[in-house]
Symmetry: none
Subunit: 195 residues, 4 copies
C-alpha cells in the first residue's frame, strides 16, 4: 500500500483528469463540481480538499495543457538541429498551430489563453525554468539575436505565440476571417521578419 502522500497525489490526478475530459466534452459551464467528483470516483466533498473551486481546477488545467503543448513544440524545434533562429521559432509555431487545428476541443477550452509558465527570475535564476530556457537557447549563437537581452527574446516569442494562438481561435473556431491555412503564410511571414 502506497504512502499517504502518494495516495493524495493519485486523487488529485484523478480529479484533474476528470475535469479535463468533462471540460472538453461539455465545456466548463456545463460541467459541475459534482460531475467532476463522480467521474473521478470521489465524493463531492473530497473535491474541496484539493481545489478551492471550479476556477482553481481550470487554472491548474490550463497551465498543464499549455506546458504540455509548448514542450512538445520545443522538442519539435530542437529536433531540427542546427538551423537559423527563425526556423526554430517557425517550427514551434507550426507545431502549435497544427496541434490546435487537430485538437479542436482543446482549442475551444483554452480559447486564446495559452500561457507560458510564469518566467519570474528569468535572468540569473538559480533554478532554470526549463521551458522558457529551452526557447531562449534557440537564439544562442545566432548572429541576428546576439545583441538582444534574454528578456527581449522571451517577450518577442511570447507575443508571436500569442498571435498564433489568437488567430487559431479566430480562424478555426470562429471561422474568421479565413481558414487557418490561408492565414498561415501571413503569420509565418510576420514571424520570419520580426526575428
Amino acid at each position: 500500500m502506497a504512502n499517504v502522500q502518494e495516495k493524495k497525489q493519485v486523487k488529485r490526478q484523478a480529479l484533474l483528469d476528470a475535469a479535463y475530459d468533462l471540460f472538453l466534452e461539455r465545456g466548463m459551464t456545463k460541467t459541475s463540481i459534482g460531475d467532476i467528483a463522480s467521474r473521478a470516483n470521489v465524493a463531492k466533498g473530497t473535491f474541496y480538499l484539493y481545489f478551492s473551486d471550479k476556477d482553481a481546477i481550470l487554472r491548474a488545467l490550463l497551465g498543464r495543457i499549455s506546458q504540455k503543448i509548448l514542450e512538445e513544440a520545443c522538442s519539435a524545434a530542437e529536433a531540427l538541429g542546427e538551423v537559423p533562429f527563425a526556423d526554430k521559432i517557425l517550427a514551434v509555431a507550426d507545431y502549435l498551430i497544427e496541434y490546435l487545428r487537430r485538437e479542436t476541443l482543446v482549442l475551444r477550452l483554452v480559447q486564446r489563453n495559452l500561457e507560458w509558465p510564469s518566467a519570474t527570475g528569468l535572468e540569473g535564476a538559480d533554478e532554470p525554468l526549463h521551458l522558457v530556457r529551452r526557447v531562449i537557447e534557440f537564439g544562442k549563437g545566432c548572429p541576428e539575436v546576439e545583441g538582444r537581452s534574454e528578456k527581449e527574446i522571451y517577450y518577442r516569442i511570447t507575443a508571436l505565440v500569442s498571435m498564433c494562438v489568437s488567430m487559431c481561435y479566430s480562424c478555426i473556431i470562429e471561422k474568421r476571417p479565413d481558414t487557418i491555412d490561408n492565414m498561415k503564410p501571413v503569420l509565418y511571414d510576420i514571424i520570419r521578419r520580426s526575428l
Copy 2:
C-alpha cells in the same frame, strides 16, 4: 407618438446600454438578466423579445465595442496625414493599447476578443465595409505594400492587432510577463518589421 419600429430600436438600445454599464461594473456573471432589464426600465420578459440570452447580448456588445475602438484608432491614424504605412499601423496599435490601458474595465470585458467586423466581400464589394476599407486605404501608395493583395494586407493587420490585444490582456490584467510599457517596444518592433 413615434413609430413602433423606432420605439423598438430605442428599447434595444436601452438594453444594450444597460448591459454595457452593468457588465463593466460587476462583470458578466454577476449581472442577471433581471438586472439588465430593470436598469433599462423594461420588464424582464421584454429582454427576451430582443435577445435570446445573456450571451447574445454580450456578442452584440462586443461587436459594438470593437467597432468603436477600432474606428477611433483608424481616425487617429488618418489624422497623421501622409506618413509611411508602418507609421499608420503603429498609430492604430498605439491608440488601441492606450485605450485598453486606460479602460481596464473594457479590457476585462473584452478579454482577448476584440474583433474586426466581418469582412465578407472584401474585394470589389459594392457596399464598402468602412472600417476594413479604411485600414486598407492606409497601404495605398506605399511602395512596400504595393505587391500585396488587399486580403493579405487585411489579414496581416488583423494578426498584428490580435497580438496587441492579447498582450494587453496578459500584461495589464494578468500582469504577465511584464508591464505593457515594457512590452510595447517589442510589439512595435514586430509591427514595424513585418510591414
Copy 3:
C-alpha cells in the same frame, strides 16, 4: 369575398386545426397559446377572440375527436345490416379499439376521456342527438333489450365504451397489464354477456 361570419368560422377552424396538430405533436403542456396562434397564422391576441384559454380549446377539441371517432364506429356497426344487438356493439367497440391502437398520438391526447356528446333530453327531445340516437337504434327490435328503457341502454353502452377506452390507454400507452390483443377477448366477452 366571403361574409364576415364565414371568415370568423375559418379562423376558428384554423385555430382548432393548429391546436390539434400541436397537441398531438408535443402534447398539451408543451404547446403554448403563442404556438397555436402562429401555426394558425393569426396574432396571439386573436386567439382570445375565439377561445378563453388553452383548456377551452382542448375541450372543444376533445368533443370533436370523440364525436368523429364514435360516428365512424357507428357507421361501421350500421354497415353490418341486420345482426343481433351485441354484434353491433361489438363492432363499435372493435372499431374504437382499432382506431386508438392505430392513432397512438390521439390516444395519448384523449387519454381515458373519450366522451359521448352530452345526451341531455334523451327521451323525447325535439332535436334528436344523432349520435346517441343512432346507438339506441341498434337495440330496436332485438328481443333481449326490449324490456329496457332507452336511458338504460345508453348508460350501459356508455359504461362499456368507457371500459374499452380505459383499457386501451392502459394496454397501449402504459403497456399494462398486457397487450391490447390479449385483453380484447376479455373485453368482448364482457360486452357480449352484459347485453
Copy 4:
C-alpha cells in the same frame, strides 16, 4: 440518532405526505415544488434528491393511493366470508365507488387512473403479489370460474374496475350522464353478468 437510511425514508415519506395533502387541497398545478418541500420541512433542493420532478412524485402517490383503496376494497369483500364470486367482486366495486363518492378530492386527483400494482410474474411467482393474489383467491372454488386461467380472471376484474372508476369520474366530477346512484344498477348488472 437513527441510521442514515432510515432518515432518508422518513424524509421521502414526509415529501409524499406533503404532496398528498397539497394536491388534494389545491390540485396538482397550483402546488409548486417549493410548497411541497416547505410543508415537508425540507429545503427545496432536497426534493430533487428524492424525486426528479412533480410528475414523479405524483406517480408514486397514485400508486400508493390505488393500492390503499384496493386493499381496503378487498378486505371488505373478504369480510363477507363464503359467498359467490360475483358477490365478492360486487363488494369490491361497491367499496370503491362509495369511497370515491365520499372522497371527491381523491377522485379529482386520481381521475380515471386508479391502477393495480404491476402484476409481473402472476402465475407461479415465488413472492406473491398480495393484492392481485387476494383478488384471484376470490374465484377459488367457484364453479363458474373454474375453467379460467388466473390471468384471465385478473384481466376481467381489471377491466371491470376500470369501468367503475371511469364512470365514477364521469358521474361524480363531470356530472355526466347522470348521478352515480343512477348509474350503479347498470354497472352492477354488467359485473354480475360478466362473471
